[in-house]
């Protein structure tokens, strides 16, 4: 066998085992989570609030809190992010300014979430007097997910064929009409990918909400966005590190983690459904 063929074989096996290892890691992780957590899951676990110093009862307020925070953050970051992407793709002139903005966005994506959390605490909670609340959390998480939304939206907008744009302009459409009626509808599947990515990131986010939105324990659901909420990731953290009886609540911790992963899967699934429905329409 010649050397080229051997090389080819080695590379193939390396790549194949990398993919296999990934899959294996994910499977083991899920198996572990299900094995330890499934015993805690019941209908009551999902619909009741915690009780007895959080050693019993359910996690309903945390589920609601995580849903509100992640959907809320998308409401903040989607229009801002898509708007920024439209500006960068369609309006901004190539040059120094554009490079600086791009650099800023890319750096924003690399900022650790605890820093976003501290910023949220200092700016939204303290300076703007929003306190530790859903609103503060949503705004902080919105900022956190902005770079992802901008990046994927930009890519989606750029991948719309120029021929569509030309056809629209040649028919006497204005630039904005072309963006609104032709480019954005074609870019929606791509933009939805960004939404999916950022939902996954935001729903599991702990550091950014621990100073801004999440509360240790609350017997009631919040009644307005100016109140704090419980949230799944923070709840896991609390139970595992600061709970009243860490060992006793072990199944609850795994159960909560399982619910969080399940919730993220569910939200992703819904977003993917919306995306493929949009794609099918095209």
């Amino acid at each position: 066998m010649d050397i080229k063929k051997i090389k080819e074989n080695i590379v193939f096996w390396v790549i194949k085992s990398a993919a296999f290892l990934n899959l294996l890691a994910l499977t083991i992780f899920l198996f572990f989570l299900v094995k330890n957590g499934i015993s805690a899951i019941s209908w009551k676990f999902l619909v009741l609030p915690p009780r007895d110093m959080m050693t019993k009862g359910g996690i309903m307020p945390c589920i609601v809190g995580t849903l509100v925070l992640s959907l809320g953050s998308i409401i903040v970051s989607l229009p801002l992010g898509v708007g920024a992407a439209i500006y960068l793709c369609e309006y901004a002139k190539q040059g120094k300014m554009l490079r600086i903005i791009r650099l800023g966005i890319n750096n924003l994506a690399g900022v650790p979430s605890i820093v976003f959390g501290l910023f949220g605490l200092a700016f939204f909670a303290t300076y703007l007097h929003f306190k530790v609340s859903i609103l503060t959390g949503i705004l902080t998480l919105g900022l956190l997910s902005l770079p992802v939304i901008i990046g994927t939206s930009e890519e989606a907008i750029r991948s719309v064929p120029d021929t569509y744009k030309e056809a629209s302009i040649a028919l006497g459409a204005t630039k904005w009409q072309t963006i609104y009626k032709i480019i954005l509808p074609s870019a929606i599947p791509g933009i939805m990918t960004g939404v999916i990515l950022s939902i996954s990131r935001v729903a599991g986010e702990t550091a950014a909400i621990m100073y801004t939105a999440a509360v240790f324990y609350s017997p009631h659901l919040p009644t307005s966005i100016f109140q704090p909420v419980m949230a799944l990731p923070y709840h896991i953290y609390v139970l595992a590190t600061a709970g009243t009886n860490i060992d006793k609540t072990r199944p609850l911790q795994y159960g909560t983690a399982l619910v969080l992963v399940g919730l993220i899967f569910l939200m992703n699934f819904i977003a993917i459904m919306i995306r493929s429905k949009k794609q099918a329409k095209n």
Binding site: T163, Y164, E166, S168, L171, G172, T174
Partner: protein, 253 residues
């Protein structure tokens, strides 16, 4: 020229950045006739076509000198409404480019962007335009299905329907049949013959037989210059310039 002039091009120079692509073009385009622009690749004929509806404006760093007078108005004057100009001068592109929308919505797009809401009017115009483009019989029972499901030739006729729906006066065609098979090409050519009753047509083509078949007038471009412009029969039977003769007899290009 014995026909009424629809467009008069005067001393037109065109630059991409520092690079001059059109040199001192002077040309009168007759009303409700077909004028073909021929010449080898890179001769500037497509650029010239795109000057006529200011599509080149989309490209950064271009410069235009000279005048293009449409119905007595220089379209490069400051204060010209480019959006209005483009609804008066429609365009069909080289590759069929229907929107990823339904057949109906593709043709109705021109009305949607004008903010026209009258449903009966739009229905009627869509129908008439599809008839004009010779597509009505093929698509009337599936107007709501996606335009991307049509064949290439059908897509191109849909683009023509879309362009004529808003009732432009001039129709620019940039090699409209170059991506199509011979049968679809024949249909487009027959269509052009019908359309010139209503529109002034300017068509860029690589295909000299096509120019000879469809055009009343033909302009020959070479290296950014207009070499010769005359009635099509004169260009093809007794060209005055040697370059034209060399090109049409296939000596280069």
């Amino acid at each position: 020229m014995e026909h009424k002039k629809k467009i008069q091009v005067k001393d037109l120079d065109f630059f991409y950045g520092e690079n001059q692509v059109l040199y001192n073009i002077n040309l009168d385009i007759p009303e409700k006739k077909v004028t073909a622009l021929i010449g080898p690749s890179g001769c500037g004929k497509s650029t010239f076509l795109r000057c006529l509806n200011r599509m080149n404006d989309l490209i950064p760093g271009i410069k235009v000198r000279g005048k293009i007078i449409l119905d007595g108005q220089d379209i490069y004057d400051t204060g010209v409404d480019v959006v209005k100009l483009r609804s008066k001068v429609g365009m069909v592109f080289q590759k069929p480019n229907p929107f990823p929308k339904s057949i109906f919505e593709n043709v109705a797009y021109g009305f949607r962007i004008k903010g026209i809401k009258d449903k009966d009017f739009i229905d009627e115009r869509v129908k008439t335009s599809l008839r004009m483009a010779g597509l009505w019989e093929e698509v009337h029972d599936r107007l709501s299905s996606s335009a991307l499901g049509l064949s290439g030739g059908q897509q191109q006729r849909l683009c023509i329907a879309r362009a004529v729906a808003v009732e432009p006066e001039v129709l620019l065609m940039d090699e409209p049949a170059s991506a199509l098979d011979p049968i679809a090409t024949k249909k487009i050519e027959e269509l052009i013959y019908e359309l010139k009753k209503e529109f002034t047509i300017v068509i860029v083509t690589h295909n000299m037989q096509q120019a000879a078949r469809v055009a009343d007038y033909t302009a020959f471009f070479l290296m950014g210059k207009l070499i010769e412009f005359d009635k099509t029969e004169n260009i093809f039977t007794s060209p005055r310039k040697k370059e034209t003769e060399d090109y049409i007899t296939g000596r280069f290009g």
